[in-house]
Every structure is written in structure tokens, then in C-alpha cells.
């Protein structure tokens, strides 16, 4: 059996999750401080990918990084390269699709965070960077981990946008979800079942770890 789709799916989901993590926590942090009006608008825009069909997202991505898109043209001129139909394009698609999950989970845990801890840190003379990384982030750990797990799981299962921007090339862009679709089309049920089974196991592990995180958060965290 060719394990490439598993490797590729994990690679895409992992890289995308790392990037979404940083984007998610910084945007959640800075947007929380903005005036209510602007916050509302940005909130809508950033959450949009959660409710839009992945094909619409794929369409937008193709229109910008495709050979006629602005970004696509620039890449072609500068590096003589294109990113559509490569696995990098999947990373971009997965970042956009998973971003709202990370952003919203992190933001709600920032909002629930006791502001007095931040104020206390500042009046004690601790720098904003210290307060952010050593006080805010560790104490929102459970929420952030939940965001990471959810984003990773969503990234692993992403199909619509990925298949539009990267297609299905065995050994190059094939992911678990595109492989399952391909195998079903070919009527290769035996192999399809194997991949379906692998997918179910991964999803199950993710959900169990989410539950464990929630339980830990309820029991009060630090020991």
C-alpha cells in the first residue's frame, strides 16, 4: 500500500496548523482590543470561511494564485513557478479553511481570561511580551490546544478547496480524502475501506483528546 496520502495529509495539516496558530492568536489578541464596530466587521470576515462552501474558497484561491490571478502572475514573473496543483496550494487552502476554528476558540478563551491578571502583570512592571507569552498564553492553554486539535482535524479532512487547488496526483498532491474519492470512482472498495478506516481512527483520537482537554479544563488546570 502506498502511504503517501497519509504523509501528505499530515504534512499539509501540520504546517497549516502551525501557521494558523500564530495568525489565530495574534489576530484574536489584537482584534479583541479594537472598537466594537470594527471588531464586528473583522469578526464576520474572519469567520466567513467557516460557513462558506469549501468550493467557494477554492474558487477564490484559484482566482488569486492561478496563472491569471494577481499573486499567480507575480510568482510566475519573479520565480518562474506556479503553485496551483502543488501541495503548497493545499496548505494555503487548509490555512484559510481552518483559520476560523483557531481564531474563534482562542478568542473565546481570551475573552474569558481574567483581565486583572494582565493588569497585575503590567503594574508589576512586566513587559507586554512577557505578559502575553508567560501569563496569557499559558493560562489559556486549554482553549488554545482545543483550537489546535480542531484545526488539525479539520485540515486533515479538508477535501473541497484542496481538490480544486491541488487536484489529485498520486505521489504528489494526493491526500487521504482525495484518495478515498479517487478509489471510489475506480471501484477499488478494498483499498477505499482501508483509508476510510485510517480516517475514522484519526478522527476518533482527535475527539477523545478534545474531550480529555475539556475535562481537564473543568477540573481547574494546574496541579
Amino acid at each position: 500500500m502506498d502511504w503517501f496520502p497519509l504523509y501528505n495529509s499530515i504534512r499539509i495539516a501540520a504546517i497549516a496548523t502551525v501557521i494558523t496558530f500564530f495568525f489565530g492568536i495574534f489576530l484574536a489578541y489584537y482584534i479583541a482590543k479594537l472598537p466594537r464596530m470594527i471588531k464586528g466587521v473583522l469578526d464576520c470576515i474572519l469567520t466567513l470561511p467557516l460557513v462558506l462552501p469549501p468550493t467557494v474558497i477554492g474558487f477564490f484561491i484559484l482566482k488569486s494564485i492561478g496563472k491569471n490571478g494577481s499573486v499567480g502572475k507575480m510568482l510566475m514573473q519573479l520565480f518562474n513557478t506556479k503553485i496551483t496543483m502543488t501541495w503548497y496550494a493545499s496548505v494555503i487552502a487548509v490555512i484559510i479553511v481552518t483559520f476560523p476554528l483557531m481564531y474563534r476558540t482562542v478568542r473565546s478563551s481570551f475573552e474569558a481570561f481574567d483581565k486583572n491578571l494582565i493588569y497585575a502583570g503590567k503594574t508589576l512592571g512586566l513587559s507586554n511580551t512577557f505578559v502575553f507569552w508567560k501569563i496569557l498564553i499559558p493560562n489559556c492553554k486549554d482553549g488554545i490546544l482545543a483550537g489546535i486539535v480542531l484545526s488539525f482535524a479539520r485540515g486533515l479532512g479538508e477535501y473541497g478547496a484542496t481538490s480544486m487547488v491541488s487536484g489529485y496526483t498520486p505521489g504528489r498532491t494526493a491526500t487521504i480524502s482525495t484518495t478515498v474519492y479517487q478509489l471510489w470512482r475506480e471501484g477499488n472498495d478494498a483499498l477505499a475501506y482501508k483509508w476510510v478506516f485510517i480516517n475514522v481512527v484519526i478522527s476518533f483520537v482527535v475527539l477523545v483528546s478534545l474531550n480529555l482537554l475539556e475535562k481537564k479544563a473543568k477540573n481547574g488546570g494546574h496541579k
Binding site: 481574567d114 497585575a120 503594574t123 508589576l124 512577557f130 494546574h222
Partner: protein
């Protein structure tokens, strides 16, 4: 050593105007929602006033006319939060260490651990220690940062009476011992009386002139001060042609006062314990509305015979009056001119 505060800030339903100076222990007294905590937050730099000026020991912390707004980290202000705000992810020891700036940290840590009796719990997390211990850690942490002023935001209100008194003594000792300026926000006049030398009353978002605490309790001269000092009867008042006589329109009576009424008189305060049933001056004819038995005495609600509906005088007296009186009786009460407090 001094802290000077002159700030204005628009809050959602009123404008906060805070003006005071202190070089010792000051209490900010007022009802909840009057802007006391906001004043502390502005001093600490956590909130920004709309305009004004804040100076600490000669250092300008905030000056809207010169666009100066020092960040909280550089203000050297200690803030004791109501919930203590200890960092849950750090041990007691780490909580204190992060606040230290200077060298010989171990030495200083050791003396603070002993000072506040927290050596035994230095390796525990805030979630594992009691409320009293948390407060001692919070105080130790504030002192570790060597502040020039300590701001106390209702420091005892989250505690039950029993533990409260013990902690109040710890806070009082700490402030005395380290000789810093302190500003305590509270709505409890007894707490202010015990811990502070001076008091600034914030009434409807506006601060009144700072008063020496004994003066505020004995001879309050504003409505806010009278109310906080425990005066139960406060009525609108008007001055008359005779400087020593004032008119109370709601009660429809004239009272003689010891002091001369000024132009800006707004009300009078009549303490419920100062009325007498024996003939002296300022006779008020009343009808008994209601008798209430209290823990150590009796409360009598009286309606002056010509008063507008709903304007009652509260008199606190002995329990034996309960037997002598019943609702509907006519009775005359008296109050000495010296006990008629003129309020602005």
C-alpha cells in the same frame, strides 16, 4: 512624597471627576458604581482618563495637555486587586520573583517569605492555597516590585467577616511598616475610619474635597459626607432672612441652627440618635407612623404633621419607647441647634 490626581473620564452614564492629593493613607469612599475603582485604574495606567493630570512624588504620570501617558510598567504603582490576581500558572515563589527588578533577589525573597508567613507554601500554586494566604502572597508580590504607592481596590469585600478582620490588620501593618502612600477604595466607612487618615468622598461620579477622617464623621458638611457618616435624616433646606433659621420645604418646618447658613446650603442632616423627647429647642410635632424593634434599640418613624407625603424622620431610641408609643400617636420631638448639620 505625594500623589496628585486631577482627572476626568466619561463613563457610560456619567462623567467621573476625581480631584485629590494625598501624602499618606487616603480612603476613596462612595457607593458602588460611583467611579472609585476607575480612579484607581487611571492612576495605575490601566485605563486612560479623557483629560487631566496625575503626579506621583514629583513624577508626571499623566498629563493630557502635554500628551504624557506613562505606561503602567513604568509607573511604579502597586495594585491590590479584589481577587488578588495571582498568576495561576506560577508557584507562590515564582509569583513574587517575577515582580522583582533589582539584584539580591534571593535575599529579598527570603525576607518577604518570612514577613508574610508564606515560606511553607512557596512551592504551591495559587489554586492550592486559602484566600487569606493568597492575599498575603499578593501583598508580598506588590512589595517585591517596590512601589511608591499602593492602590487597594475593595481589598476585603470578597471575604466573610471572620477572616476579614485578620486580613485588614495584615494590610494595615504592611502599609505602616513600608511607609508608602496608599489609596483604598471602599464603600465601608468603618473600614475607612480604621485604616485611613483622610477620606475623599466620590458622590455621583464627582469627588468632594479631601477631609480629615474625624472631621468627616463628626461634622460632615456635604450631603455625600453626611450620608456616608451614617446620617439617616437628610432633607432639602432653604435659607431664610434670618441667618440662623432654615426652612425645610418637604417637612414644612423651620429649624434653628448653631452655624450661620451660607448661600449654597442644599440640605440639613439630622442624626437619628440626637433627637430627644424632652423639651429643648426646635420642636417638631409628629405623628407616629411605625415602630420597629432593632437589635439593641428601637427605630421610630415619624411624620411631621405638615410634611409632604412620604417624608418621614427616623429616630433611634431605647427599647422602652416601644411600650410607651403606638402607631398614630401624636408626639413632639426636639433637636438642639448645634445638632442641625448644614450641608452643601
Amino acid at each position: 512624597m505625594s500623589l496628585i490626581v486631577h482627572i476626568r473620564k466619561r463613563l457610560h452614564n456619567f462623567e467621573l471627576i476625581s480631584d485629590f492629593e494625598t501624602d499618606g493613607q487616603l480612603a476613596l469612599l462612595g457607593a458602588s458604581g460611583s467611579g472609585k475603582s476607575m480612579t484607581l485604574k487611571c492612576i495605575a495606567g490601566i485605563e486612560k482618563p479623557d483629560s487631566g493630570y496625575i503626579e506621583l512624588n514629583g513624577r508626571v504620570l499623566y498629563d493630557s495637555s502635554k500628551h504624557i501617558n506613562i505606561q503602567p510598567q513604568k509607573r511604579n504603582v502597586g495594585y491590590l486587586f479584589q481577587n488578588y490576581a495571582l498568576f495561576p500558572n506560577m508557584t507562590v515563589k515564582k509569583n513574587i520573583l517575577v515582580a522583582m527588578k533589582a539584584e539580591n533577589k534571593t535575599e529579598k525573597l527570603n525576607s518577604l517569605l518570612d514577613e508574610f508567613y508564606i515560606r511553607d507554601i512557596q512551592d504551591k500554586y495559587p489554586g492550592e492555597i486559602s484566600g487569606g494566604q493568597q492575599q498575603r502572597v499578593a501583598l508580598a508580590r506588590i512589595l517585591a516590585s517596590e512601589p511608591e504607592v499602593i492602590l487597594l481596590d475593595e481589598p476585603f469585600s470578597a471575604l466573610d467577616n471572620f477572616i476579614r478582620w485578620k486580613l485588614e490588620m495584615t494590610v494595615a501593618d504592611t502599609i505602616k511598616k513600608f511607609g508608602v502612600i496608599s489609596v483604598m477604595v471602599t464603600h465601608d466607612r468603618d473600614e475607612a475610619y480604621r485604616n485611613c487618615e483622610a477620606v475623599c468622598i466620590i458622590n455621583d461620579g464627582k469627588s468632594e474635597p479631601v477631609l480629615e477622617i474625624h472631621k468627616m464623621m463628626g461634622q460632615p458638611n456635604t450631603i455625600g459626607a453626611a450620608r456616608i457618616s451614617g446620617c439617616k435624616n437628610i432633607f432639602e433646606a432653604e435659607k431664610t432672612n434670618d441667618k440662623n433659621v432654615i426652612f425645610l420645604p418637604k417637612l414644612n418646618i423651620y429649624l434653628k441652627s448653631a452655624e450661620n447658613a451660607e448661600e449654597d446650603i442644599k440640605a440639613v442632616g439630622l442624626r437619628s440618635h440626637y433627637f430627644s423627647f424632652e423639651v429643648t429647642e426646635n420642636k417638631i410635632d409628629c405623628v407616629v407612623e411605625r415602630l420597629v424593634e432593632d437589635v439593641f434599640g428601637a427605630i421610630i418613624m415619624l411624620k411631621p404633621i405638615n410634611a409632604e407625603e412620604g417624608n418621614l424622620i427616623r429616630v433611634d431610641t431605647d427599647k422602652n419607647m416601644l411600650e410607651k408609643l403606638s402607631a398614630g400617636d401624636n408626639i413632639s420631638i426636639y433637636i438642639k441647634p448645634v445638632d442641625v448639620l448644614l450641608l452643601k
